[in-house]
């Protein structure tokens, strides 16, 4: 699965973008277009997930997966914080900000992972989109508590922060689209499928080209990254992702959904969380948290992580359990 996955156009376009940036080409996707595609991807993921749940109905598995996601998002920042403080030698504020990113999720890693799993015959269940939505914000709360953000450091009132967190554009769009998909069902989805379903994979290619450019440019500007933090940006997804997969299999989820839970746990946010952190913890360095999540963890997950989580879910853990 690994090499085959690497040679798919979605991943190749990411590599093309990264190569162009490393070679200092002036290739650039207009930001309005990239932002538009990112909104499109969230609408599409939400609608398709909601449409599938409308078919299957609410199941026991869905509840279990949702609870697992909630717990992971709340708790994953804790060991991450400890590692970032000790092995990473970060101060409290920066460690807390980074930890929040790793507890939260990356929508595009999930989207790419789902496509790759589907291609390998391990499509995750539709309700995993709801789990994705559920996992976006709890980690932010844990991160802020870890930073003791209520201190005089921040200008933003407490209420304002929770507001920022739960009404972050990407959270609203994902959840809202999921609900619309749920209400509309397969019937309502049919006439809009030519926009929100069929072209999804192609749109992802364009977006990943841009992600390759952005990630590589950040990596070249890696003022804020040290060897220690870069190594943690590889270790954290592996740890969190493995935990996610194992939890999924143990809870009895199918292999695809378990792999998807691993992808969610192993991915790090670079849309919702940075926007909140810039406001809530202005003293934390955006070069650091975006450098780790966007320039190291994202490419790692895309090229290696996804394949690894799928492999653990399908082969390794079932074998270990016997």
């Amino acid at each position: 699965m690994a090499l085959d996955a690497l040679l798919q156009p979605v991943v190749l376009f990411f590599l093309l973008g990264a190569l162009a940036a490393f070679a200092r080409s002036d290739l650039a996707i207009p930001e309005a277009v990239a932002k538009g595609i990112s909104l499109y991807l969230m609408m599409s993921i939400g609608l398709r997930g909601g449409g599938e749940v409308a078919e299957t109905g609410f199941t026991h598995d869905m509840l279990l997966a949702g609870g697992a996601g909630l717990a992971l998002s709340f708790l994953l920042p804790l060991p991450a914080f400890w590692l970032l403080r000790t092995a990473g030698k970060l101060d409290r504020t920066n460690a807390a900000a980074v930890a929040a990113h790793y507890g939260s999720v990356s929508v595009v890693t999930f989207a790419t992972g789902s496509e790759i799993l589907r291609h390998a015959g391990m499509a995750p269940a539709g309700f995993m989109v709801a789990v994705l939505a559920v996992m976006e914000t709890p980690a932010i709360i844990t991160g802020l508590l870890l930073a003791r953000a209520q201190g005089k450091d921040s200008l933003a009132p407490r209420g304002g922060l929770l507001h920022e967190t739960f009404l972050n554009g990407s959270v609203i769009l994902l959840l809202g689209s999921f609900l619309i998909g749920l209400v509309a069902g397969k019937g309502g989805m049919a006439p809009i499928a030519p926009v929100f379903d069929v072209p999804f994979r192609g749109m992802l290619c364009i977006f990943l080209l841009d992600m390759g450019l952005i990630a590589a440019r950040r990596l070249m500007d890696r003022r804020a990254l040290t060897v220690r933090t870069a190594a943690l940006a590889l270790l954290l997804p592996l740890l969190n992702g493995t935990l996610g997969v194992v939890l999924g299999v143990e809870l009895g989820l199918d292999a695809g959904s378990s792999a998807a839970l691993g992808i969610l746990a192993g991915s790090a946010s670079y849309i919702a969380v940075p926007a909140v952190m810039r406001l809530a913890l202005p003293a934390a360095d955006p070069g650091l948290y975006l450098g780790m999540s966007l320039a190291v963890t994202f490419p790692f997950n895309l090229t290696i992580g996804i394949g690894y989580y799928g492999w653990v879910a399908a082969h390794v853990w079932p074998l270990i359990r016997g």
Binding site: E31, K35, I214, D221, Y270, I271, P274, A275, R278, G287
Partner: protein
């Protein structure tokens, strides 16, 4: 000839998520009229940046307000302690305006 009056032009460059905070601080200093201008990129003590709207966390916006000296000073006093920690850039310069009452 139209009479013009002396006023202060305050410009603050700040990360997009911080703009609501800047607007609030300005209002607390008595400045309620302002204009926001886009940027493309730059470089400073905290490194280079380009306006990638992906997360918006590091895209910057220029806040511009024309106002009288008291409000200007009050605003600068409020901002001064944040300049370093929040990676802001502040500039103050002189302008002439018509309809001075509008820019007190």
């Amino acid at each position: 000839m139209t009479t013009t009056t002396h006023r202060r032009r305050i410009e603050v460059l700040a990360d997009e998520p911080l703009i609501p905070v800047i607007i609030r601080l300005a209002a607390e200093a008595g400045i309620i009229h302002y204009t926001l201008l886009p940027t493309l990129g730059g470089a400073g003590a905290h490194g280079r940046w380009r306006d990638d709207q992906l997360s918006g966390a590091t895209a910057k916006v220029m806040f511009l307000a024309v106002t009288g000296p008291e409000h200007a000073d009050a605003f600068i006093d409020r901002l001064a302690p944040l300049l370093e920690s929040h990676h802001l850039m502040l500039m103050s310069s002189d302008v002439e305006v018509v309809r001075s009452r509008k820019f007190d």
